[in-house]
Symmetry: C2
Subunit: 335 residues, 2 copies
């Protein structure tokens, strides 16, 4: 049975999506000339500002493109569905984002992305554009705590990119932006649950199998295996399971503040996300933690996968200020 999608030829889906994005958001975004997979913020890059370049595979919209805009990322390099962009659009993004103060690459920790962004960074060095890299590793289900640098980057990207983008916009130096980005990543924790697979536009076939009435805790955003598969539990039980792991790692003190993201993997509707949010709020209350800000919705998706993830960013004064900094992106506005 083929998944039904409103697409034309599967191979054209990414490029046609990008055309649609530029039609819808011409005031926010443009593509580099001759490089349709390099999308730049119209009011992002400026002289003397560190440039922030993000990117990765398609299929996670509004990640990454949706977070390109004034106050957040300057450009995003766009790959095929669930596949890294090659070096060329990354280089084009960095060149467009460069304001003479260096460029920070930020993206989820996946082997293909690391290879291509590193290759781009080497080539940019030859053009005297200084590039630093901070990988996001917020998915706590993807490797043990002792191997944080092996973990994948998932929905927590939103907060991590946001903090770094705000630092860029505030005129921080490349050293300082890099420090903030690493700090933001270290204090961001995500864990998800998947209820159904998604399918790629080229195949229209489910990317994994899961039984009726089953869920998988900790599954990755490309269907990478999680940590436990079992019978679907109630929203409260699922939220408790995810938060138990997150709070154990976070080791916050009563009175600490967090930013919360309850994210749909694609087809899980707002009603279910807010039911999860209710339980998150109850658990945080019980732990004496204050919710400074919260996002609920589709922020980092896996096409039409059903499921959700919960992210906490453990705020301090600096991160709180950066998370509160205004941004104006095509698919995300804050303040």
């Amino acid at each position: 049975m083929k998944t039904k999608k409103l697409i034309n030829a599967g191979d054209n889906a990414v490029d046609e999506m990008l055309e649609g994005i530029l039609c819808a958001h011409p005031d926010h975004l443009y593509a580099v000339d001759g490089m349709p997979r390099a999308i730049v913020a119209r009011h992002g890059p400026r002289q003397g500002k560190v440039g922030l370049v993000i990117g990765g595979g398609s299929g996670h919209e509004p990640t990454f493109l949706g977070f390109v805009g004034k106050g957040l990322a300057d450009a995003a390099a766009v790959g095929n569905v669930f596949a890294s962009p090659p070096p060329d659009p990354i280089i084009a993004c960095a060149t467009a984002a460069n304001g003479g103060a260096g460029v920070l690459f930020m993206y989820g920790n996946y082997a293909g992305d690391v290879m291509n962004f590193d290759m781009a960074a080497e080539m940019l060095a030859m053009d005297d554009i200084e590039v630093r890299t901070v990988l996001t590793t917020d998915d706590i289900a993807s490797a043990p705590r002792s191997q944080r640098d092996k973990r994948r980057g998932v929905a927590g990207n939103v907060f991590i990119f946001k903090a770094a983008g705000a630092a860029c916009d505030l005129g921080y130096s490349l050293d300082e932006v890099e420090r903030v980005a690493r700090h933001a990543n270290t204090r961001t924790y995500t864990m998800g649950v998947a209820l159904s697979p998604c399918s790629l536009p080229q195949t229209l076939k489910p990317n994994f199998a899961i039984g009726e009435g089953e869920m998988e805790i900790g599954m990755g955003i490309h269907g990478e295996p999680g940590v436990a598969r079992g019978a679907l539990e109630s929203a409260d039980q699922v939220a408790d399971t995810l938060l138990y792991r997150i709070l154990s790692e976070m080791q916050a003190d009563a009175g600490d503040r967090v930013a919360v993201l309850v994210n749909s993997l694609g087809s899980t509707p707002l009603m279910e996300l807010y039911i999860l949010m209710r339980r998150v709020s109850q658990r945080l209350d019980a732990a004496g933690l204050a919710i400074h800000t919260s996002l609920v919705g589709n922020y980092c998706t896996s096409l039409e996968m059903a499921g959700a993830s919960i992210t906490l960013m453990h705020l301090d004064d600096e991160l709180q200020r950066l998370i509160d900094h205004p941004c104006d992106c095509a698919m995300f506005k804050a303040r």
Copy 2:
């Protein structure tokens, strides 16, 4: 086979969702004391301003709650899933929204909503609160053109509410707000396509059946029958079908401006919506129409239904100004 949902008891889904919404957005929203289904904008109602009250069944989030906020609606009355709110929360909303200049009720044209909102209006009249009502009827598939007042209100609500809410915020009189709201409704046209059913939290069973590889053009947001069922077509063909009907009714002249909404019915991801948006843009270009603004995403959903709708609002100078007016809602920000 039961639909998998991240909920607790199905009967509690709406109330638990509302609790989650208030936890997530305490700066934007509150519930009237003792009336958890009456949700009010914290910075909405003010003395001398016409109050705008919207509402309807749950399951369409972010419609209606998400459009409650400064510059848009002052309050929303919340019903059970796909069911009208009873008069009590509507009355509570109107009382909270009342600034002494009258209250406008706006909601989609469904029999249950009409009955309950009308009953509320009668009771408010006894308290000397003047209420007017404008029904939205943007779903052009739901009745012939000669019976516009029989049509249902669907995703075009976003633009229609937005225009009326801006008029309220700008201090228009009740007469003028009512005129603007009717005018906005008259110039807004929506048509959708459904690819899969959704299921209610209480039953977890699909609300209609549709074959593998089939789509239904013109289906309503509660699964009301559409105008044609057939084999799934390409995104471009579907967009052409929907736009052909919309543009035939709209009868715009070259040079006219439109606001565009490409809306997911729930599980259809941004990738597909932007592929539709690309074609919408091509067709509008060909017709000589300019896109003044566009929204692409989940604005009026049917839980996890797959499918999409296209809305055009035929702008004039007044509507354009109102659509551009800033608003700050929990789930929708403009400017």
